[in-house]
């Protein structure tokens, strides 16, 4: 955890929850786990405000607490990972919208907006929102089914309801209890929506980030293979992944063997995949022989079975990302050197010049530039015989990928922070004109409701002069660009975090309780 990360976190809190929550949040980030009165002291806020801020943060699962030694006092600590994930919410919503259409989207939005919520509340609110949407007819049962589907697919999970009367309750829920299926009768839903009678068996639900990340990971892998080989290979990988979930936990490094016969049957059933079905064996062969070895043969039994090497794929993708970053940052010659060092593990500068075919001087400059920016490392090996002069040791360049990944991750946080800062400052600089636009818009809306004529509306619209309009358009474009790059930056962060998760088996940024 770095100060850069902390800055991003506090910015997110500031933007979404306001100053007080941000103050409490950054205090927890700086001082680590602390009890209530410490927070009050550090932040200089009135107790009631601190309490309120903590409540909000706990509600959104951004702060967690454990009993102090004195069991009547709780120690609060920040869940930075979850705060960071707020940047990824739009991606989750798009993902669900693709799978479950508008109903799923609205339900997910409700859960995300409230942190956690009871089943009754989710269904009630979603129904009302869907009703307001234009040309949309929705039945209660349909909505219930979508909700159930989200639970079955484990996009939603239960939260623990504290029981007993300890001063500081512990919030733990076992893996098994997380996804217990609720029983919601159709009649109950009807009663709920029409007469606002809560469900008989109330249950509380929150979002299961891990499941979303699993989907995002699969999407990433499939799109990578589609780009490298072709669409059919992407489809094949998709089928492989689907078959993997039947017998393997989602985050295993390698899948259990998948019988090829099963994959064949599934693909045959999908009518759209003629080409793939015809050349299935060849496609499997191509994928197996690919440089990154994504699938490997496990055995011959039952027509052959294959394993997916998820960890290796991710590692390969991360290498490629880093290489591309080097390419963009230092140009193609440097990328060539970087890749050469990767292939040779340890390599002397002279060899680099020869193999990469770069003039000695330039090769040296690029090597030391990469070294300066921490992309490569130097290993010195002393010659035993001579201990003076310029040739007293061999110099080898090498790459420590884990270190590079962490360093690049820092760079991502920094870029994110910069982009967000810039966005805020653009907003502040143009505050006057944005406010004016908003004021005009509200007046227009009000007038429309009152039934004003076209002429009147046009008059009001003219309050914004053409140069102002141009400026507004430019601001809009700027905001769009910054928002987009923010999302794309998060893509990089996601991949790098996946790498760390796989290589260190740490539950980094994916902690869900």
């Amino acid at each position: 955890m770095s100060s850069q990360y902390g800055k991003v976190i506090s910015f997110i809190l500031l933007e979404r929850f306001g100053e007080i929550v941000e103050k409490v949040g950054s205090c927890l980030f700086h001082y680590g786990s602390s009890p209530l009165l410490y927070i009050k002291k550090y932040t200089n806020l009135p107790l009631s405000q601190v309490k309120e801020a903590l409540c909000i943060l706990i509600k959104y699962n951004l702060v967690t607490f454990v009993p102090n030694k004195n069991e009547n006092i709780a120690n609060y600590s920040l869940k930075c990972e979850n705060i960071f994930l707020m940047l990824r919410y739009p991606k989750y919503i798009i993902l669900i919208k693709k799978k479950f259409e508008d109903e799923g989207e609205v339900i997910l939005e409700e859960v995300l907006l409230s942190g956690f919520s009871s089943a009754s509340e989710i269904i009630f609110k979603s129904f009302n929102r869907l009703k307001e949407m234009e040309n949309k007819t929705i039945s209660e049962v349909q909505l219930r089914d979508v909700f159930m589907a989200l639970v079955t697919a484990q996009y939603l999970m239960r939260i623990y309801i504290p029981e007993g009367n300890k001063a500081v309750p512990q919030l733990e829920i076992s893996e098994k209890d997380k996804f217990i299926f609720p029983s919601i009768e159709a009649i109950e839903v009807k009663n709920l929506i029409e007469k606002n009678i809560p469900l008989k068996q109330e249950s509380y639900w929150t979002i299961n980030f891990d499941r979303f990340h699993q989907d995002l990971r699969d999407k990433l892998i499939i799109s990578a293979i589609t780009k490298k080989i072709d669409e059919n290979a992407g489809e094949l990988m998709k089928t492989f992944l689907e078959q993997m979930y039947i017998r393997t936990t989602a985050w295993a490094d390698t899948s259990n063997p998948i019988p090829i016969q099963e994959v064949k049957n599934v693909i045959k059933k999908k009518n759209s995949l003629h080409v793939l079905s015809a050349f299935l064996d060849q496609y499997i062969n191509v994928m197996e022989q690919d440089y990154c070895k994504m699938i490997r043969k496990f055995g011959e039994a039952g027509g052959g079975s294959y394993q997916i090497y998820l960890k290796d794929i991710i590692i390969h993708l991360v290498w490629e990302t880093i290489e591309q970053i080097v390419l963009e940052k230092f140009d193609s010659k440097a990328a060539r050197i970087f890749r050469l060092i990767r292939l040779k593990s340890y390599i002397e500068p002279e060899q680099i010049q020869q193999l990469a075919m770069i003039p000695a001087k330039e090769a040296k400059r690029l090597c030391y530039q990469l070294l300066e920016e921490n992309f490569i490392k130097v290993q010195e090996l002393r010659k035993s015989s001579s201990n003076s002069g310029p040739t007293k040791s061999f110099i080898f360049f090498n790459i420590q990928i884990a270190q590079v990944v962490r360093m690049v991750l820092e760079l991502c946080y920094k870029s994110l922070y910069n982009v967000m800062t810039r966005r805020l400052s653009e907003k502040n600089v143009n505050k006057r004109i944005i406010d004016k636009k908003q004021r005009v818009d509200t007046i227009m809306l009000g007038m429309k409701v009152q039934g004003a004529t076209e002429e009147q509306l046009a008059d009001i619209e003219e309050m914004i002069t053409p140069p102002e309009k141009e400026l507004l358009g430019k601001i809009g474009k700027t905001m769009k660009k910054l928002n987009l790059v923010e999302l794309e930056l998060d893509d990089t962060v996601f991949l790098l975090e996946l790498f760390l998760r796989y290589t260190y088996n740490q539950i980094l940024n994916f902690i869900n309780m």
């Binding site: 990578a224 293979i225 780009k227 490298k228 080989i229 072709d230 059919n232 290979a233 015809a278 050349f279 060849q282 496609y283 062969n285 191509v286 440089y291 990154c292 390969h316 993708l317 490629e320 990302t321 290489e323 591309q324 970053i325 390419l327 963009e328 940052k329 193609s332 990328a335 060539r336 890749r339 050469l340 002279e350 193999l355 990469a356 075919m357 770069i358 003039p359 000695a360 330039e362 760079l411 991502c412 920094k414 870029s415 922070y417 910069n418 982009v419 800062t421 810039r422 400052s425 700027t478 660009k481 910054l482 790059v485 999302l487 794309e488 930056l489 998060d490 893509d491 990089t492 991949l495």
Partner: protein, 304 residues
């Protein structure tokens, strides 16, 4: 160099001398006193030692000491003759340079081996150079380092750098052009294979090419002034592999095969913003001249 008259081996009338040279020529590893004795049975030791001494003096034979035994070796007179009329220092230096072959030898190493002092050595080298017995060649590995070698030798590629060097300068533009052409050829091959189709595996196998094919293509293009061999093309193709534009596999026959490939990922989000490629990002902070609010890089990018 062979213009200079050959030492009079045959015409001296001494058949003993010619016999000894013939013997020495037949045994390149050298002959010992015993060998001479056993081959020249009817010649007295006194006579043949005289001849041997004469030959040694004229430089046709060389004296070596191996395992405490004296060995005479034959020496080609055509290489030798240049030293006629030169002093001992020149001979020594000449021999050292000769030993270095076409790799050449650095002046400092000559000094160590010959035990001559700097001024003397410089004089000797100058005189040898004037006689066109040796020449100085600039090495590509260190531009200021001169190496000496015999005049009529072609410098080794490690000294000149091979086809990629012109007057000690690496021709990176030439390499870049070749790199692009090789890649173009690979991509072309791959597209042809895709067009023919017949299944992904067959298409892939068709798109592999060997360095020989590329060599032929490049030769026909005629972009190179110098003659390139397959080995040169092989090293160019390796740079294409290093650029992640091709992959290299070993064919069953043991040669390398190359194929154009695509990357897995589009360029990452990090480098789409200016911060990811910013050269001064480490100096960027909330305060100070370099900060995100007024960053010119960001402004330029936003105004694009």
């Amino acid at each position: 160099m062979s213009k200079i008259k050959e030492p009079e081996v045959g015409t001296s009338g001494s058949s003993v001398e010619s016999q000894i040279t013939a013997l020495a020529q037949s045994k390149p590893e050298g002959i010992s006193n015993e060998d001479i004795q056993s081959n020249l049975l009817n010649v007295t030791a006194e006579t043949w030692t005289k001849s041997v001494n004469k030959l040694l003096k004229s430089g046709l034979l060389e004296l070596f000491k191996v395992n405490n035994k004296l060995l005479y070796k034959y020496k080609d007179p055509s290489k030798k003759t240049v030293n006629k009329g030169s002093d001992n220092e020149e001979k020594v230096v000449y021999r050292i340079i000769e030993e270095a072959g076409n790799k050449g030898i650095w002046i400092r190493d000559i000094r160590f081996k010959s035990n001559l002092n700097m001024t003397q050595l410089n004089k000797v080298l100058k005189s040898l150079e004037a006689k066109k017995a040796i020449k100085a060649v600039k090495s590509v590995s260190a531009s200021k380092k001169k190496v000496y070698m015999l005049y009529d030798l072609e410098p080794d590629s490690s000294v000149t750098g091979g086809a990629w060097y012109q007057d000690q300068d690496f021709e990176s533009e030439f390499v870049d052009v070749l790199n692009q052409q090789c890649q173009r050829f690979l991509v072309q091959k791959q597209e042809e294979a895709q067009k023919l189709w017949g299944g992904p595996l067959i298409a892939r196998n068709r798109s592999y090419v060997s360095a020989k094919d590329v060599h032929k293509f490049i030769s026909e293009l005629g972009i190179s002034k110098v003659a390139l061999n397959v080995q040169d093309i092989e090293s160019i193709l390796y740079t294409v592999v290093l650029d992640n534009n091709a992959e290299r596999i070993v064919s069953p026959s043991g040669e390398f095969l190359y194929r154009a490939i695509k990357s897995f990922l589009p360029s990452p989000g990090l480098v789409k913003s200016t911060c990811g490629i910013c050269p001064i990002s480490h100096r960027c902070a909330d305060s100070g001249f370099v900060n995100a609010k007024v960053c010119t890089y960001l402004t330029d990018w936003l105004n694009e």
